[in-house]
């Protein structure tokens, strides 16, 4: 349903005018809402007899002129990125291992792996962090990293497995008929295709991983949130809470939007180029066409992403 305009008759001049009017009215309402919020924030407030300056008052933002503060924030960003990068590498490795074990032909490999994956997927990452922190007493850094690696590894493994399952059977059969072994076919023929197919999902999962490092705030790992919202706001005082929040928010938004943008451009590249695998035309060799399966897998992966905690 990409072209929902199919559903309507082409709008005539009257309908176009109406839609333009609603558009302007709606836009005006939204702008009014935003302005109202800004005004409320900017207005000075009475609190117990003292007048507090508005949120955009200079006295609330002067700390950002201090280079030392940016040093602290930078340390927080590094803490976040370091945990995310190490966890991402381990998650990818684990994901590949999980997907191979999960799609094994041997029942006694496949079923236990499925149980393990379900267990890791069904648990909150936060609980896993606490578990690792208390049981293995690893310190908060490794608690954050290993919990994120295991959890996202399980999710990436599932995505890769869906990719493997969605490949046309002919790929495997062709590999086998060339005289390759099971494992060779899997690693050399099926896996690269599945990985490519699922790359956008995997990158999107890595965005989730980056967001999830913020849970380190709760288990006491000094990442960005802890650096700004806890350490700095108690050091400089509560009146900088809001400005610090805004800055943290913007930093996170920038990091995540950059990664999301990467995911999207990967998805576009996959959709436009990379033909010649005959998948688009081959469809319907099973009762479920692969494209459909991929769509469902993508949709549920997108949904699971909110796992994001």
């Amino acid at each position: 349903m990409t072209g929902s305009s199919v559903l309507f008759d082409a709008p005539g001049p009257k309908a176009r005018r109406n839609s333009l009017i609603t558009s302007i009215v709606g836009g005006a309402l939204i702008v009014a809402g935003v302005v109202w919020m800004a005004m409320t924030l900017a207005a000075p407030r009475e609190s117990g007899g003292i007048t507090l300056p508005g949120m955009f008052d200079e006295s609330r933002w002067d700390i950002f002129a201090d280079p030392e503060l940016w040093g602290f924030i930078w340390n927080g960003v590094i803490g976040t990125l370091r945990a995310a990068a190490v966890a991402a590498v381990f998650a990818l490795i684990l994901g590949v291992v999980f997907s191979l074990l999960r799609s094994s032909r041997l029942k006694w490999v496949r079923y236990p792996t499925a149980v393990v994956i379900e267990f890791f997927r069904g648990m909150p990452v936060l609980l896993m962090m606490l578990f690792i922190l208390l049981v293995f007493s690893t310190g908060s850094y490794w608690a954050v990293v290993s919990a994120l690696a295991v959890y996202n590894g399980a999710l990436i493994g599932e995505a890769l497995r869906a990719g493997l399952a969605a490949l046309p059977r002919g790929q495997r059969e062709a590999g086998l008929s060339l005289g390759m072994r099971e494992l060779q076919t899997k690693l050399l023929i099926e896996f690269p295709q599945a990985f490519r197919q699922m790359l956008p999902i995997i990158v999107a999962q890595l965005v989730v991983l980056l967001k999830d490092t913020s849970l380190g705030y709760i288990v006491g790992y000094p990442e960005l949130l802890r650096a700004t919202m806890n350490n700095l706001s108690s050091y400089y005082g509560n009146r900088y809470l809001f400005p610090l929040f805004v800055v943290t928010f913007l930093i996170y938004l920038t990091m995540n939007l950059l990664l999301s943008w990467l995911a999207r451009s990967l998805a576009r590249r996959r959709n436009s180029g990379g033909g010649g695998r005959g998948r688009r035309n081959a469809g319907g060799d099973a009762d479920v066409s692969p494209d459909q399966a991929i769509l469902v897998a993508e949709a549920s992966a997108a949904a699971r992403r909110s796992t994001s905690t």
């Binding site: 349903m1 069904g122 909150p124 909110s306």
Partner: protein, 215 residues
């Protein structure tokens, strides 16, 4: 194991709060999500714009940050709300764009040909949506939606870090009180989470397989 059984009432209490968070947050997310999804396909450009920006911003913000906003920044700005309510708001707002995306992906998954066919045999807008497109979109929407709720279930644990005495917070308190039996205590907490997430996940998987539309 004894520790878990001894503290079963505490567990159940925490589990109740988790279910409450799940229910209220879920309903809130559904309401906002449906609203945003409708705005996204509305023929009015400014609403579409707003919905897109909203989705992008919330989706790229960590839940912890949303929680900090609702628990610390909102009261500071003058909203006097208990922590439980701020957790409801945080979970509802955070989950809403994911609900909206699940709905949208379901509608986008129906091939244009279906709508064209419906229109070409003379069905009107209402008829083609309600008889042709929605029944197909519905099947593709429910499994992702269930997955959104599974994620929400797990996300309620973050509320435990912000002064809401739900399952995770209960587990943490118990683990701190009984240092010698940390493993059974936390596995007990995990069990309660799995009690919600695993059946829901199996259900979603069944529906996905059963409802895959053969075209």
């Amino acid at each position: 194991m004894d520790v878990v059984i001894d503290n079963l009432p505490l567990y159940l209490q925490g589990f109740g709060v988790t279910l409450l968070l799940l229910a209220v947050g879920g309903v809130g997310a559904l309401v906002i999500g449906v609203l945003i999804a409708t705005m996204r396909i509305a023929p009015v450009a400014s609403l579409r714009w707003f919905a897109t920006v909203y989705t992008e911003i919330i989706r790229n913000t960590p839940l912890t940050l949303v929680f900090i906003f609702c628990a610390f920044v909102l009261p500071y700005l003058g909203a006097d709300i208990p922590y439980l309510v701020s957790a409801f708001i945080a979970l509802g707002v955070y989950t809403s764009p994911f609900v909206a995306e699940a709905l949208r992906s379901g509608i986008n998954g129906v091939p244009v040909g279906q709508a064209e066919a419906a229109r070409s045999i003379g069905l009107g807008f209402g008829q083609s949506v309600s008889l042709v497109i929605f029944p197909q979109a519905f099947r593709m929407t429910i499994p992702p939606l269930i997955n959104v709720f599974i994620a929400l279930t797990k996300n309620t644990s973050v509320a435990g870090g912000f002064f809401v005495a739900e399952l995770f917070a209960t587990g943490r308190t118990l683990a701190n009180a009984n240092g010698s039996a940390v493993i059974p205590i936390l596995l007990g907490v995990a069990f309660f989470y799995l009690l919600i997430t695993v059946p829901l996940g199996l259900f979603a998987g069944r529906l996905e397989a059963k409802w895959a539309v053969a075209r």
